[in-house]
């Protein structure tokens, strides 16, 4: 009974770890420990991913992430980073409105921080 549960959790493991109970039990325990730890890590990873995406989205409009968030805090806009990253991907006009609001509140970027210009192959050929 317990063995069946272990083997069910051990699906997709490498080598003997999916077939032999002594090895599978160790690997499954390790997998469960990792999942416990990673449920906490996932929150950190997702937040840094959202910040990267917001940074990319605002730099298209010439503002960097730090000044953008500072402007939003000044305006008391309480959208969180998850929603901001979704808006930057799927709702470009709404996101531009947010960037403009933030720029009015805190015009930190005197020089527009645009993404680096990409040269195409015609230069080499």
């Amino acid at each position: 009974m317990n063995k069946d549960k272990i083997f069910k959790l051990a699906k997709g493991f490498r080598g003997r770890a999916k077939n032999c109970i002594r090895i599978a039990r160790e690997r499954v325990e390790k997998a469960l420990q990792y999942s416990y730890r990673d449920r906490r890590n996932k929150k950190r990873d997702m937040r840094s991913l959202w910040i990267e995406r917001i940074n990319a989205g605002t730099r298209l409009h010439g503002v960097n992430y730090g000044n953008f968030m500072h402007g939003l805090m000044k305006e008391n806009i309480q959208l969180n980073r998850k929603v901001l990253s979704e808006l930057s991907m799927h709702e470009p006009y709404s996101f531009k409105a947010l960037v403009d609001t933030s720029r009015n509140a805190f015009p930190g970027n005197k020089k527009a921080v645009l993404p680096p210009k990409k040269e195409d192959l015609s230069i080499v050929l």
């Binding site: 325990e29 420990q33 305006e75 929603v83 979704e86 409105a97």
Partner: protein, 213 residues
Amino acid sequence: MASTTLTFCSSFTATGRLPQKQNLSTTLSLSKTNLNFLSPTTPSLSSHRLTFSPKPAFSSLPKFSESEAPVLESEPESTDSEPAQLVETATPVPKREEIFAVVMIGSRQYIVFPGRFIYTQRLKGANVNDKIILSKVLLIGTKTSTYIGKPVVPNAAVHAVVEEQGLNPKVVVFKYKKRKNYRRNIGHRQPNTRIRITGITGYEDSPAVTLDS
């Protein structure tokens, strides 16, 4: 291209899938062909991905951005005029208003579309088929303007209906300390509530940022 979609649609209606999905998706046959190849790959995806209207034929993500909508409107309608005659017998689905809102429930924020559902933390004291009004609306976006709340859009309300009070899938919480003979094996199911969004109202009077185009 249009002829291939015609034959595809006729075989599609013959399989009888139409009556199941007619109250969920639009009558755009292109969206139904999309459903056909999406459903085997993502059966467990929540239905909000399938109910979006209008659905672009070439991308599987429910992109809803104002820049794409004017371009999309010309394409699906021109190729849809022929298959639409075949699919005429389906009940006309009411046109969804193209609007979204960012709402805060249980200190978590969700992007919300009318007609879709979301899973939230368990709302105590809410029974099934209760009408709920969510008052913490942080942003509303329509096709032409965006209403940014500081922090909340005044007088805005999102209407929703409680569909189901269930539990999240089980998570195994396994604690283990090596060489210390300590292990704990606990299963956990977090209670949740599924609510379906019916409408977004009350935003007309707030200051808005409108599109120039």
